[in-house]
C-alpha cells in the first residue's frame, strides 16, 4: 500500500497535536479546491487552504521534522515523522492531488498569449531550484530579441515555481480529512544522520 509521510518540527501544529489520535485536517477544511489556491499553498506556503501536504519521501519528511521546527529538536523533545498508509478506495470526502498533474491540466495552450515558461537563460531553472546559491541565474541580464522587444525581467510564473517546489518536496496534497486509522506510525527524530549522509550514492 502506498506510504506517505508528514514531517512535524518542534513547535509546529502537528507537533503539538497527535495526528494518531484524531487524524489530519487542513487549516481551512471548508475552502474549495482551485488551481490558484493550490499554487499559493505550494509556491507561497499559504496554508490557509483546504490542503494537507504529504510527501512520498521519508528524507523530505525528515528534513521538515528536524530542520523545519520552531526550535531545535532534542532527544527529549524530538521532531516527528508521521507515516500514513493510504489506498483506494479512500474514505468519503478525502481525495489526493498530484500538484504537477493539476498544474499541467490548467496550463495555457501553446498558442495562448499567456504561458508558464520562463524567458531566461538555460540556467534559469537552476536559480529557481536553488536561489540560495544560484540566484544570479534569475537576474535580468540576458540576450533580448531585436530590436529590444523582450521583457525587462525574466518571466517567472507561479506555475513554474509550483512545479519546482512540488518536485523538491515529492509533494502530494490531500483534500479532506485523513482519519486517524490511516496514521500508522509516528517516528521521533532529533539529529541529522551524518553517517548516512557520508554514505550517499548517486541513485541514477
Amino acid at each position: 500500500m502506498p506510504i506517505f509521510y508528514r514531517g512535524a518540527g518542534v513547535g509546529t501544529y502537528w507537533h503539538e497535536r497527535d495526528a494518531r489520535l484524531n487524524g489530519f485536517t487542513s487549516k481551512k477544511p471548508g475552502a474549495v479546491h482551485s488551481i490558484d489556491r493550490l499554487m499559493e499553498h505550494i509556491a507561497r506556503a499559504d496554508v490557509n487552504s483546504p490542503y494537507i501536504s504529504l510527501t512520498r519521501s521519508y528524507g523530505v519528511a525528515y528534513v521538515y521534522a528536524v530542520h523545519f521546527g520552531r526550535a531545535q529538536p532534542t532527544e527529549t523533545n524530538p521532531g516527528y515523522i508521521y507515516e500514513i498508509e493510504l489506498s483506494g478506495p479512500l474514505p468519503p470526502g478525502l481525495h489526493l492531488l498530484d500538484p504537477v498533474k493539476e498544474v499541467a491540466k490548467a496550463a495555457p495552450e501553446p498558442l495562448d498569449l499567456m504561458c508558464y515558461q520562463h524567458d531566461g537563460l538555460p540556467d534559469f531553472i537552476l536559480g529557481l531550484v536553488n536561489p540560495r546559491e544560484m540566484g544570479q541565474s534569475l537576474k535580468p541580464l540576458r540576450p533580448q530579441p531585436p530590436p529590444g522587444g523582450g521583457s525587462p525581467i525574466p518571466r517567472l510564473t507561479i506555475q513554474l515555481e509550483t512545479l519546482v517546489r512540488t518536485l523538491r518536496d515529492a509533494e502530494i496534497l490531500a483534500v479532506g480529512n485523513i482519519p486517524a486509522t490511516y496514521v500508522r506510525n509516528r517516528y521521533e527524530v532529533w539529529r541529522w544522520p551524518i553517517e548516512e549522509q557520508e554514505d550517499l550514492h548517486d541513485c541514477r
Binding site: 507561497r44 506556503a45 530542520h67 521546527g69 520552531r70 540560495r132 523538491r168 549522509q197
Partner: protein, 89 residues
C-alpha cells in the same frame, strides 16, 4: 548549527527585534533557517521558520497585522544577510 547575527542589521518593528538567524550545519543541502526574535525585549522560545527556496516565513502572526508586516518587510534583508555570510563564500 550556524548562527548569523541580525541585531542592528535588520530593522524590526511592532515590538519585534530580530536577533539572529540559525541554519543547519549542512546548510547547503537544507533549505531552512530559523529566525530568532524578541518581543518587547524578551527572546521568544519559538522562532520563525524561513523557507530559503520559497523565500517566505512559514509562521504567521495571524491576529496581529502589524507584526506580520514587520516580519514580511524583514525577509529580503534577512536573506541578504544570510547570502553575504554563508552562500557567497
Amino acid at each position: 548549527m550556524i548562527a548569523v547575527d541580525l541585531k542592528d542589521r535588520v530593522k524590526g518593528g511592532a515590538s519585534i527585534e530580530f536577533l539572529r538567524v540559525e541554519v543547519p550545519e549542512g546548510h547547503r543541502r537544507i533549505p531552512s533557517a530559523l529566525i530568532r526574535y524578541s518581543l518587547n525585549g524578551v527572546e521568544q522560545p519559538y522562532g520563525l521558520r524561513l523557507d530559503l527556496d520559497k523565500q517566505v516565513v512559514l509562521d504567521r502572526f495571524e491576529d496581529d497585522e502589524e507584526k506580520q508586516e514587520a516580519v514580511e518587510r524583514a525577509v529580503p534583508e534577512i536573506l541578504r544577510v544570510l547570502r553575504s555570510n554563508l552562500y557567497a563564500r
